[in-house]
Amino acid sequence: MRLDFVKIFVDSTAVLFRELIGPPVDVPSISMKPSPVAGREVMAIIGLAGEAHGRVIFDMDLFTAVQLAGHMLGEPSPGMTPLVRSSIAELASMAIGRAISKINDGGTRLSMSPPTVITGANLVSYDQCFETLVAPIATAYGEVRVNITIQDLD
């Protein structure tokens, strides 16, 4: 696990959330979990490839997703509309894009896939054998967990 990259992902996400969503944004602790990751009702998944590989999953309750999207859109949303899904995807993309940029500027080539958003009950993400670092980020609209798996290719 590239813990140095994990810190960049978590810090970039927290800073972006503060900018876009506003305070309070807090990261109380980071913990290691064995795969699979049990998610909540909304998951935004971004793949990572290059000199390291892995993926980042943002997971949150439906209520939190709808409220976060409403804040970004500047208007309340009635539920999980296509625009809400897109807002959550873009939130994840901006956070990881910012981290990817720092990592590349630091000399490691890493690219990201466009985000995929999945909604439903009892979502679970299976990985081959990776452990996952989980950073819960507390926002004014509820908790967003950032589940990060990243390893060097060798």
Binding site: L16, L83, G97, I103, N104, D105, P114
Partner: protein, 137 residues
């Protein structure tokens, strides 16, 4: 109203803009920003191929272009637009903004680069600079 359309203020024609982003949220967000400016007509494309088609059809004054998109990504799309129209004025707006990627986008023909999240003021300044490149920032 913000007057981003220095050229239009002379020729009295609207500024035309093509927004290219696979994210419906970003298209919504950028269109709302563009709508807050004076005398602007905005169109949208959700991917690189659609952008090429719309650019050829509309020949907009400016293009707002994302980088990370499924299929043909933004830098390749800019390259193709600029090879067809070297005078194309493309502003990149992307969450991926490391030095090498910015340089790649600029050498493909982009005239400006804004890291996401973009603010209305950043967008206004970028458009003013791209329309009047000799103006100080």
């Amino acid at each position: 109203m913000l007057d981003v359309n220095k050229e239009a203020s002379v020729v009295k024609s609207p500024l035309t803009c093509l927004i290219v982003d696979d994210s419906a949220f970003m298209r919504f967000h950028l269109r709302r920003m563009m709508d807050s400016f004076d005398n602007v007509i905005a169109s949208e494309a959700a991917n690189g191929n659609e952008a090429l088609r719309e650019y050829g059809r509309l020949r907009p004054d400016i293009v707002l272009m994302d980088i990370v998109m499924p299929g043909m990504e933004g830098v390749e799309t800019v390259k193709r637009i600029c090879s067809e129209d070297p005078k194309a004025r493309v502003i990149m707006i992307s969450s991926v903004s490391y030095q090498e990627k910015v340089a790649e986008a600029m050498s493909a023909g982009a005239k400006w680069f804004i890291p996401k999240p973009v603010t209305t003021e950043e967008l206004r300044r970028a458009i003013q600079n791209v329309l009047s490149p000799t103006t100080d920032n």
